[in-house]
């Protein structure tokens, strides 16, 4: 357990500059877009321009600012997401690349091999959630900057939930419903499990490994998507009731998760080769 913690720390430490970089990029790009948009509008209004009603509000709000900087606010988020998605694979391959194959060192550690798997999984999740948390904290900071730029008589307060809903990326990544958050990120975790196991398949079977990995990933995706598309949960004349289809989908997800973890652990402890 302690060794698992140390491994997590090692993974976090290896990635810390990238993580800070993503956070920094997000803050810088968002603040720049915010300042540019808001000062532009304030100048326009001061010069005698008519206020453009925003969902029925006349005064400027931080919600308005977030709504009107959609692309620029979302851009660093997309870059970070792409980076993290890539790192799901690189967090493994990184140990094999370069002159010093760190994989030797990790596999020789006197610790259960599954701790390596779990530590990498934990690290990725930690990165995802800390970036989300960073975005949440960035918003009140950005709102403060907004309040500095816009004089009090021209602005109005915003509901925090409105701010979140103003940007499509936010409402997608930080859904207001806690249940939706769990469903979304739960599915995300399972995707990571499948990806990890695919990587381990490739690393265990080298030549045929990439084929096995692709087959495995495809099978997992198909196991979920095929019932979703064919059972016709939205078709009137479907044979199964929605509750039954939901039950099937849930069971499939559980099986895919268990299989991925089980297979991944086995590959890592018995079949992996440097």
């Amino acid at each position: 357990m302690i060794r698992y913690g140390k491994l997590v720390h090692m993974e976090v430490r290896r990635f810390r500059y990238f993580l800070l970089g993503m956070m920094g990029l997000t803050l810088v790009v968002q603040v720049a877009a915010l300042i540019w948009k808001t000062t532009g509008e304030v100048h326009r209004l001061r010069a005698g321009g008519a206020p453009v009603p925003f969902f029925g509000f006349d005064k400027l709000t931080f919600t308005w600012a977030v709504f009107n900087t959609q692309a620029m606010f979302a851009l660093p988020i997309l870059v970070s997401a792409a980076g993290l998605a890539l790192y799901v694979f690189l967090i493994w391959y990184r140990d094999w690349l370069g002159r010093g194959t760190f994989a030797y060192r990790l596999l020789m550690l006197p610790t259960a091999r599954r701790n390596l798997y779990l530590a990498k999984l934990t690290a990725i999740l930690l990165f995802v959630f800390s970036l989300l948390a960073f975005q949440l904290l960035a918003l009140p900071i950005e709102q403060g900057i907004f309040n500095l730029i816009v004089p009090a008589e021209m602005r109005m307060d915003s509901y925090f939930t409105d701010i979140i809903q103003a940007n499509q990326a936010f409402s997608l990544l930080l859904p207001l419903s806690g249940a939706q958050f769990l469903y979304q990120y739960g599915l995300g975790v399972i995707c990571i499990l499948v990806a990890f196991t695919a990587v381990l398949l490739e690393r265990s079977f080298r030549f045929w490994g990439i084929g096995y990995a692709v087959i495995y990933a495809t099978a997992c995706i198909a196991a979920f998507v095929v019932p979703l598309l064919t059972l016709g949960f939205d078709r009137d004349d479907a044979y199964l009731y929605p509750k039954e289809i939901f039950g099937i989908l849930t069971a499939v997800i559980m099986v895919v998760a268990a299989a991925s973890i089980g297979l991944g652990f086995r590959l890592l402890s018995r079949k992996i080769t440097v």
Binding site: S177, G178, P242
Partner: protein, 424 residues
């Protein structure tokens, strides 16, 4: 000193979990104001069946909500799980069908037509007309029968003699003695002309052997104005499965005027009639209709409660509602009444409907066709329930803002309730 080595990871963990935890515990709550329907006069039980729906403004996007005597429920975005679980709920939760699904789930599988059901004490029957096959079209009638006493099921499939139709829709299924009547609306598509008339056919099956006994085409004695088309719809029952020995058809003569290419066509209702067709006697009888020339389509609301037909018509100024109740077996008119908004303590009458011998009305305290600046002075929306036969007010209620910390007037101003429904 050694402990601080792990500070990076520990801090990151706490930061992530703490911030997200706080967000979902407190910050993601939209804090939308609660409303409630409270009784002004009458029996609270009648009011408990009401469901007012609309939107609450005051935020970036209007929030849809439902207000009842128990309080308000905001319909927030569906989660992934709800999207799957609630699919097809419009079909599966219909009164009558909901009970069948609970009691006979396996019998109900794969049956999608809402009007193809019939249920009495002994039998549960589902029939549907199906048209299949590309070039060589085959039309057939499939019927499934569940004997409620023995639990046995049987199935018939009868090919239909009219093969040339492209669409067949089952409008009604009724049992008269040992004969199963399936009323099917059939239509043929011809490239280029959209308005080919729909033909209504009553197919009669012998229930004991599943053979097709008779095929009666319903003929409407009607001379249409050139350029107009007939639109026929079946007046629906409250319960999809209820037995009845006749079916009520509403026939609308509609003239469609295409003003310009990009504007939707104007529909003008030239005439509207109500006709009853009896399955047992083949008789087609015209019934009195509340239609008045100049009415727009769907102004008159017709519904069946067993053998009583209720017709409801709001007048032009939206401040008066009139209705009639007719017993179809005797042909006698049971009631011909009206009520004004003022009599109910409001100004304008919004949507209204009749179900189960009651008239349900949504009321507004201000005039509807007044510019927005004069409207929405924070006066509450109201609802009333009247007895259809006597016109007596059984219930009157108004919508109030429940949270004492908020300004009731301000919140009610943002609330717009446009629909009234009856809860099941």
């Amino acid at each position: 000193m050694k402990r601080t080595r792990y500070a990076l990871t520990v801090v990151l963990c706490l930061f992530a979990l703490g911030t997200l935890g706080y967000y979902y515990a407190f910050a993601s709550d939209e804090r939308l104001p609660p409303f409630q329907l409270v009784t002004v006069e009458g029996d609270a039980k009648e009011g408990a069946a009401l469901e007012l729906s609309g939107t609450y403004g005051g935020r970036m996007y209007s929030k849809p909500l439902i207000v009842t005597t128990e309080g308000s429920v905001y319909r927030l975005q569906e989660t992934l799980a709800e999207a799957v679980l609630d699919s097809r709920s419009w079909l599966l939760e219909l009164p009558g069908l909901k009970e069948i699904r609970k009691e006979h789930p396996n019998f109900m599988r794969g049956k999608s037509s809402t009007s193809g059901w019939y249920e009495d004490e002994e039998k549960l029957i589902y029939a549907d007309a199906v048209v299949s096959g590309g070039q060589s079209r085959t039309a057939r009638l499939d019927a499934d029968l569940l004997d409620l006493k023995s639990g046995k099921t049987s199935r018939f499939s009868v090919p239909l003699p009219d093969q040339k139709y492209d669409f067949a829709y089952t409008e009604d299924v009724q049992l008269v003695g040992d004969q199963l009547h399936v009323l099917v609306a059939q239509r043929k598509l011809e490239a280029g002309s959209a308005n080919l008339p729909t033909v209504y056919v009553d197919y009669v099956l012998n229930l004991s052997d599943g053979s097709l006994i008779d095929r009666k085409k319903l003929a409407f004695d009607w001379k249409t104005t050139p350029g107009a088309s007939l639109q026929i719809s079946v007046v629906t029952e409250g319960m999809a499965t209820a037995p009845s020995d006749s079916v009520i058809l509403q026939i609308d003569e509609i003239m469609q005027k295409q003003v310009s290419e990009h504007v939707a066509a104007e529909l003008k209702l030239l005439n509207e009639k109500l006709v009853s067709y009896s399955y047992s006697t083949d008789e087609m009888k015209e019934l009195p209709s509340l239609f008045k020339p100049g009415d727009e389509p769907y102004r008159v609301f017709n519904t069946l409660d067993g053998n009583v037909l209720t017709s409801l018509r709001p007048d032009d100024d939206a401040d008066q509602l009139e209705w009639t109740r007719t017993d179809l077996t005797t042909g006698k008119q049971l009631a011909s009444l009206s009520v004004t908004g003022e009599q109910l303590g409001a100004q304008d009458i919004g949507s209204s409907f009749a179900v189960d011998g009651r008239i349900y009305v949504l009321l507004y305290p201000t005039r509807l066709n007044v510019p927005e600046s004069m409207q929405d002075d924070g006066e509450p929306t109201m609802a009333a329930v009247l007895d259809a036969d006597s016109g007596k007010v059984l219930y009157r209620g108004k919508v109030v803002s429940v949270d004492p910390k908020r300004s009731a007037e301000k919140e009610l101003k943002q609330l717009q309730l446009n629909n009234l429904n009856r809860r099941e």
